[in-house]
Structure formats: structure tokens, C-alpha cells
């Protein structure tokens, strides 16, 4: 039975429409005009307990709005929603105890005090006794490699240390469902890797369900066997990254190392030329023509080395977002 179930989920915002300049300001003051913006349109999906699902989409696609509806912060305009057996928008205490929402750009830790003070408050808010709270803090701190940082004022911590402390605070009550909105935003590569391995570890240890948005596709590829791709408010893809890759570009990438450099025009008949840098060439070739094209390349050109791979998912999704249209 799914722990998260969304059916026809939609959210429309009414926003004021104001033209620039003094005339626009006066018109806006005297006769305000509004327009409806559909942030999320009829999105449906179900997530089983223990799954880690990546939530992808360009800025403004509706990811955060969906996360906020799932966590109960905002009401859906239409559709049905159930999380951990609750209607999120009612924000019942038992529901709030079973979820957490981490937003990379927002913080819940008390800025002037060490994280331990915020953790003590959270333990009291969630009714976790002192002994159990201490045990959980030790366990999570160990998983996150946090030590003396917990006794240093939050304002003195680095961004990475702060994010790890935020995660600890958000998970102290051991929620069954984690909504993580850009938890690794702004972190360096090492800190991102640490957060990733922590999330994988946490999911394995507690069987928590995770819905994760990240602009770093390394987070998604490392953690999420399944991704939801939201685009212009609608759900574009629900499946594996590989399926997404096939769907976005039904091509394979062929890397060639030639014996001698050739002009770009020489590759036109084999596929789409991605790059041609001296003797190193990258081509995109449709899968249905891959065998024939590779055979021709080897027969017709002087090739030192040849490698067939999937194009990087970052490039495919980036291209989709950049084009602003789906195939």
C-alpha cells in the first residue's frame, strides 16, 4: 500500500499582475488585476514505503509547491492526497510526527545557539525523553560525522556542517517520510557526498521513504532508482533514470579516438555530431541504427578506440529544460 498517494494534484495561485512604471503602479493601485498561475497540474503518483524517489524539474516547474502540498504546508487547489494515512493539509499532530520537510535554503536551528540546544527543543516538542534523545543524537551524529560542531553556535558553522546539523534536527523524531528540497544546495563536493551517503544509510537503517529534489544529478543518480520529472507543472516522467534517458534521447553516445583528425563534415552520415576536438570525436547515434553505424565507422575510418555509452543524464535533462518543450 503506498505511503504517498497523489491523484490529480493541482495547485493554482492567484497572483497580482502589475505593469512596470508609474502608470502601471497607479493602475495597479486603483484597479488591481490578477491572473491564475497553475503551478502544479493534475499530477498523479504513488510511492511505496521505503522508496527513495528523485523529484526533478527546472526552477519554477512545481517541485517545491508539490513538496509543500505533500507536507501539508499548503492546500491543493484540486485532487486527492494522502501521506502516511493522513490528509496532509489538516496537519494533525500524528501526521506532523511522521514527516519532515528539509528545505536547503531555510533553517530551523536557532542561529545564536549550538545545534544541541535546538535538538533539545525538538526532542521536547516531539515528546522524546532525554535518554532516548541522547541516544538518537549520538547515532545520527555518528552517521553524519558530527562531533564538536554540535556544541558550537550555529552561526559559526560552515554551510556543510550546518546542513548536516539541520538534517539531524529534522530527523530526530525519526519520521517515516522525508521530503528533502535541495538538501545539498551550495555544499562542496565532499559535503554533498557525505549527505548522500547519510541519506542512503538512513533509508537502509529505518526504511524511511524519501522524496528528494536536487539540482545535483549526482544526488539523484546515486540515490534514486526512480525519478519523477515535473515540467511546467505536469508530470512528464515516472520511472527509472534509464527509462527517462531513453525517452528523452533515444540515442547512444559514441566516443571515437581517430588516428588522424578529420573535418566535422566527415561524420554527418553517421549521426549527430556532439563534439569534434582534433582526434577525439563524440557522436550521438540512434539506437536502431547503432550497430550499422558503428560497423561503418570502423570500416570506413581509421579508428584507434571506440566506446559506446549513454549520454550523461545531466545533458539530456538540461537540454529538455533549456528547450522548454518536451519531445
Amino acid at each position: 500500500m503506498p505511503i504517498i498517494h497523489a491523484e490529480g494534484l493541482s495547485k493554482t495561485y492567484r497572483v497580482a499582475d502589475k505593469q512596470p512604471g508609474l502608470a502601471g503602479t497607479l493602475r495597479h493601485f486603483l484597479r488591481r488585476r490578477y491572473r491564475d498561475v497553475a503551478a502544479v497540474r493534475e499530477v498523479s503518483f504513488a510511492i511505496e514505503p521505503g522508496e527513495i524517489v528523485g523529484f526533478l524539474g527546472p526552477n519554477g516547474a512545481g517541485k517545491t509547491t508539490t513538496m509543500k502540498m505533500l507536507s501539508g504546508l499548503i492546500h491543493p487547489s484540486a485532487g486527492r492526497l494522502e501521506v502516511a494515512g493522513f490528509l496532509p493539509q489538516r496537519r494533525q499532530p500524528d501526521f506532523l510526527r511522521s514527516i519532515t520537510l528539509v528545505m536547503g535554503q531555510k533553517q530551523q536551528l536557532i542561529w545564536d545557539l549550538p545545534p544541541l540546544d535546538s535538538l533539545r527543543v525538538n526532542a521536547a516538542v516531539y515528546g522524546i525523553d532525554d535518554t532516548e534523545a541522547r541516544r538518537r543524537i549520538d547515532e545520527l551524529a555518528d552517521m553524519l560525522e558530527l562531533g564538536e560542531e554540535l556544541t558550537r553556535p550555529v552561526r559559526k558553522l560552515s554551510l556543510g556542517q550546518r546542513m548536516k546539523a539541520e538534517l539531524l534536527a529534522a530527523l530526530l523524531h525519526r519520521p517515516a517520510v522525508l521530503f528533502l528540497d535541495e538538501p545539498s544546495l551550495g555544499l562542496d563536493v565532499n559535503a554533498q557526498a557525505r549527505v548522500r551517503s547519510f541519506l542512503a544509510d538512513y533509508n537502509r537503517r529505518y526504511g524511511a521513504t524519501v522524496l528528494l529534489t536536487s539540482h545535483y544529478l549526482a544526488d539523484i543518480t546515486a540515490l534514486c532508482p526512480r525519478v519523477l520529472l515535473i515540467h511546467q507543472g505536469g508530470l512528464f516522467h515516472d520511472g527509472s533514470l534509464r527509462e527517462l534517458s531513453d525517452r528523452l534521447v533515444p540515442c547512444r553516445q559514441v566516443r571515437l579516438e581517430l588516428r588522424e583528425p578529420l573535418p566535422a563534415a566527415a561524420f554527418a552520415s553517421y549521426g549527430e555530431l556532439e563534439s569534434c576536438d582534433g582526434r577525439d570525436v563524440r557522436l550521438l547515434i540512434r539506437r536502431d541504427r547503432l550497430t550499422g553505424s558503428v560497423a561503418r565507422l570502423l570500416a570506413e575510418l581509421e579508428v584507434n578506440d571506440l566506446e559506446v555509452s549513454d549520454p550523461p543524464i545531466e545533458e539530456l535533462i538540461g537540454r529538455l529544460f533549456h528547450q522548454g518543450a518536451v519531445p
Partner: protein
């Protein structure tokens, strides 16, 4: 109260006191900035001196209060003001604009309790500075020293707690307007004018013309400063009328605040967070 709630109150207060201690210098300056009653004491003493019997300790009744009564009243007004100040509208507005409200709404604790704890913690941090200023006052004006009777002190304490409750609820109602307007604090600034003049901070209500005084008593302001201050100073006040007025205002403001909060959160949820 269950042990879990007691522990929550203790931990919440503890963390807020620790935060306020980080800002002790700022809080000391806030306490110092509340010396308006002493300035008014200086002015009213001059008036009393010119209309009364040459400014003696017990001379003159031109403004209805002698110099001793004025000194004790304005010191009491200072102390009461220090422990009834509410700034929830500013804190809430900032939390709302900075997006800190969202994490609060996702915890099984109504966010208003955090602000209550923050205010109580701030008062606890402010107390030593208030005591120091009061001690300095008595050092400079030893003739004004007095000790209220235990009954008066108890009644004044209760009235101060109720006055803080009124002020906190009034400001919380305005804070809830942040759900509709990004700058609800502007309204609070508007309220500061009647608070200043009708509460008794600038002048004891006894100095008001009878009509103005009667009209002021229909507003919440005199009960926030004048009534508890007169209780502490040993002035003549009607206990029954004062506590009944405070209870009535709390009975109006509490449901209004809760209603506005519920409506506001519903709007916040509907319009986006």
C-alpha cells in the same frame, strides 16, 4: 499540566533565555530606552512645583498628585512597562518574511508558544537591568523609597502579568495580519500613539480631564500601565474595576487572536508559504 508539557515549557524557556543572554547588551539598551517615565517625572515635578507648594516632598496638589506620589508612580510605570512590552508583531513579521514560519508550522507545537517563551525569556534577561535602574533611581532620590505591602505587591504582580497578556494578545492580533499584509508592524506603530498617551506613560490618568479619563478607561491602554503602576505605587485604584476590565479585554482579545490565527494560517496554506 503533564510532565511532557512541563518539560517542553522548561526546555523552550531555557533555550530562549540562552538566546536572549546572547543579546544581553541589546536588551540592556532596550531597558535604558524605556526611561520615558523618568523624563516625564522630571517634567511633571516642575509643573507640580510651580502649581503646588514649592516642590516639597508632600507639598502641592495642583495636578492631583504630590511629588512623592509622582516619583513612585513614574518609577512603577517604568517597571510595569519593562515587563509588559510585547514585540511579537516584529518577530512574527520577520519570521514570516524570512520563511521561518514554515518549519514552525510543521512541528506539533502551535508557533505562538515560541513567541510567548521568547517574551518571558526576554523579561527574565531584562530583570537585572530594570533592578539596576530602579536602584540607581532610589540612590538619587532616597526620599522616594518605599516597600509595597505584600497584598499590594501581589496584586501589582498579577495586574502586570495580565497587562502583559493583554499587550501580547493585542500585538498577536496585529501580527496575524502578516498573513494578509507583509508590513503589519506599521499598524503596531499606529497603536503606539494611544498607548503612549492613554496608558499613563506620559501622565498619570489622575491628571486627565474627567471626560478624557472616562473615555480612556473604555480602551485597553490604561489597564496596561496605569492600573498596575498605581497598584505598585500605593495609589488609589479600584481593584474590582481594574481586574474586571483586564479580564474583559482578555476575554475579547484571546478568541479574536485565535480566530485571526486560524483564518491566517488557512490563507497562508491556500496562497502559498
Amino acid at each position: 499540566m503533564s510532565s511532557g508539557r512541563l518539560r517542553l515549557a522548561r526546555v523552550l524557556l531555557g533555550s530562549q533565555v540562552a538566546t536572549m543572554i546572547e543579546y544581553r547588551a541589546e536588551i540592556a539598551l532596550w531597558a535604558l530606552s524605556g526611561v520615558l517615565p523618568f523624563i516625564m517625572l522630571g517634567l511633571w515635578s516642575q509643573v507640580e512645583g510651580s502649581t503646588g507648594a514649592a516642590g516639597g516632598v508632600d507639598g502641592g496638589a495642583g495636578i492631583g498628585l504630590d511629588r512623592l506620589q509622582l516619583a513612585r508612580y513614574f518609577l512603577s510605570a517604568f517597571v510595569v512597562r519593562q515587563f509588559t512590552i510585547a514585540w511579537v508583531v516584529f518577530a512574527f513579521e520577520e519570521d514570516s518574511l524570512q520563511g521561518r514560519l514554515s518549519p514552525y508550522l510543521l512541528q506539533p507545537l502551535p508557533p505562538l508558544w515560541r513567541y510567548v517563551a521568547a517574551h518571558l525569556a526576554e523579561q527574565a534577561t531584562r530583570a537585572p537591568f530594570v533592578a539596576a535602574i530602579a536602584a540607581l533611581f532610589f540612590l538619587l532620590q532616597p526620599w522616594a523609597l518605599w516597600l509595597p505591602t505584600p497584598q499590594r505587591a501581589g496584586a501589582a504582580l498579577l495586574a502586570t502579568i495580565l497587562a502583559f497578556t493583554m499587550n501580547f494578545l493585542l500585538q498577536s492580533c496585529i501580527a496575524c495580519l502578516c498573513f494578509w499584509s507583509e508590513r503589519a508592524s506599521a499598524l503596531e506603530r499606529l497603536l503606539s500613539i494611544p498607548l503612549l498617551f492613554l496608558s499613563g506613560l506620559v501622565a498619570p490618568l489622575e491628571t486627565f480631564p474627567p471626560g478624557v479619563r472616562a473615555a480612556a478607561q473604555w480602551t485597553p491602554f490604561p489597564w496596561m500601565i496605569h492600573f498596575p503602576a498605581q497598584l505598585l505605587a500605593g495609589g488609589s485604584v479600584s481593584l474590582a474595576q481594574g481586574f474586571a476590565a483586564m479580564a474583559a479585554w482578555i476575554a475579547v482579545l484571546l478568541p479574536l487572536c485565535l480566530g485571526l490565527w486560524r483564518l491566517g494560517v488557512r490563507r497562508y496554506s491556500a496562497m502559498g508559504a
